[in-house]
Subunit: 284 residues, 2 copies
Amino acid sequence: VAATANYLPETSYSALPDIHKQLGDQDAVVTLEKTPITEDTLTELFSGSTLSSHAQNDVYSTYRLQPPPHLNEMKVTVVCPATEEHLKKHQYQESYLVEETAEDYSSITLPYIESQSFSLQWVYNILEKKAEAERIVYEDPDPDVGFVLLPDRKWNQKQVDDLNLIAIVHQKGIRSIRGLTAEHLPLLKNVFQKGKEAIMKKYELPASKLRVYLHYQPSYYHLHVHFTMLGYVISGCGVEKAHLLGDVIQNLQSNPDYYKSHTLSFPLKAEDGLLTKFREAGKI
Amino acid sequence: VAATANYLPETSYSALPDIHKQLGDQDAVVTLEKTPITEDTLTELFSGSTLSSHAQNDVYSTYRLQPPPHLNEMKVTVVCPATEEHLKKHQYQESYLVEETAEDYSSITLPYIESQSFSLQWVYNILEKKAEAERIVYEDPDPDVGFVLLPDRKWNQKQVDDLNLIAIVHQKGIRSIRGLTAEHLPLLKNVFQKGKEAIMKKYELPASKLRVYLHYQPSYYHLHVHFTMLGYVISGCGVEKAHLLGDVIQNLQSNPDYYKSHTLSFPLKAEDGLLTKFREAGKI
């Protein structure tokens, strides 16, 4: 709900004498945000503002409004001195959409994933109850179609409005939706059905309030499914990255090789090594 | 990225003489939005603003900034006279996910759409240059595969960070993706290709920065395609409602009846008449 400008041009700092004094020569993160409109200011906002007409068509029209400054503040957040971690966390990285053909997957993506040997030890720790066992909401222990359901770390579990759980399958070796064929239908249907039932039981949320999906590319290459609250808008549920589990099941039912043969689009951040590989191959 | 106040208290209208005159005694939807901060205004923003300290803790501090009005405009959108549909659409309501089979579409959704006879006059006004002609960014006038590309009303066009354009096809009678078959592939490919080219030419944004998709259900039943900036997170780009044009083209290529035969999921708001129909049919 806030517009953020993460890059302040160097020159801007000096226009801010108070902040500039605090910063000195130190590294800093300066964030500028607009804040939500509050209802109790609306009457004053309109009466004290300048209005100009912009465009009109049929019943639709738009205006530009210049509110008085005290009713339209912005928020400035400063981290100073900022550590390397602060700088990284706040650095905005551009994303680029990649269109990965089945051939690109074999020749670019899969070799890249294999070369990285991302550790999945933390996932195995969860599946084997060596870590986070107390966080598990539900488990089906079947080695072929079973899974563990637990809250995503991003969710504080204080309200269901931003409900966010992850089902991690017990079966090893399925890296992502690219690895799915019709033989995985029993597994996928089981996760879909029992995951929804477990959430209904524990949080009293029916299936019609859930968005159930997989990411491609996922953040780790062991098959897992996201269960989030419908209406809770987060970047990971965008159509460019998320695949509804219901669609995945249907696509595999009508075409067992759907995910082995189709071109899949996904965003990659500027510094992602995989983007470099696609660039080197002249694909972007 | 915008804070929206959908409910203006009654008293607010009278504080807006220009709008009030337009509204009279008619029903209206008045929406107030903040717009993204643009980088080129930052230096002036800081030098011309009043700054006050707010809080400080360790390396973290926050300030309140009161920018000059001309650098911190809001946007007012008015729909007047507003129909019952407009009023419902803008009220905050819970959403529910519906899983619509092909059979549900024929027996529930299509009869409902036909019974509503939503007016498409404003769309035809655009296609026929009777309104908003000056806003058109690009046009391919071909009656079969042509389209008009213009900025979405939500976009103020001041920065590409929240770029949002709509391609409206010239061909009439295609209500939504449910109406698409392989015969529409030339139309879809043309919109995809020429839309991307026009955006590259006008805004210098390559295809890898764009999210190109259709909504199901759409907000109006004349085929149109959304072109938005990748990384700009808005509710309408969620996987539960958006369908990437690239995926739609591929799905139709491998299965001409994909959208006539598959089950499609989409969210409906609590007061949507279509949700009532699905409820009455015992489907939710």
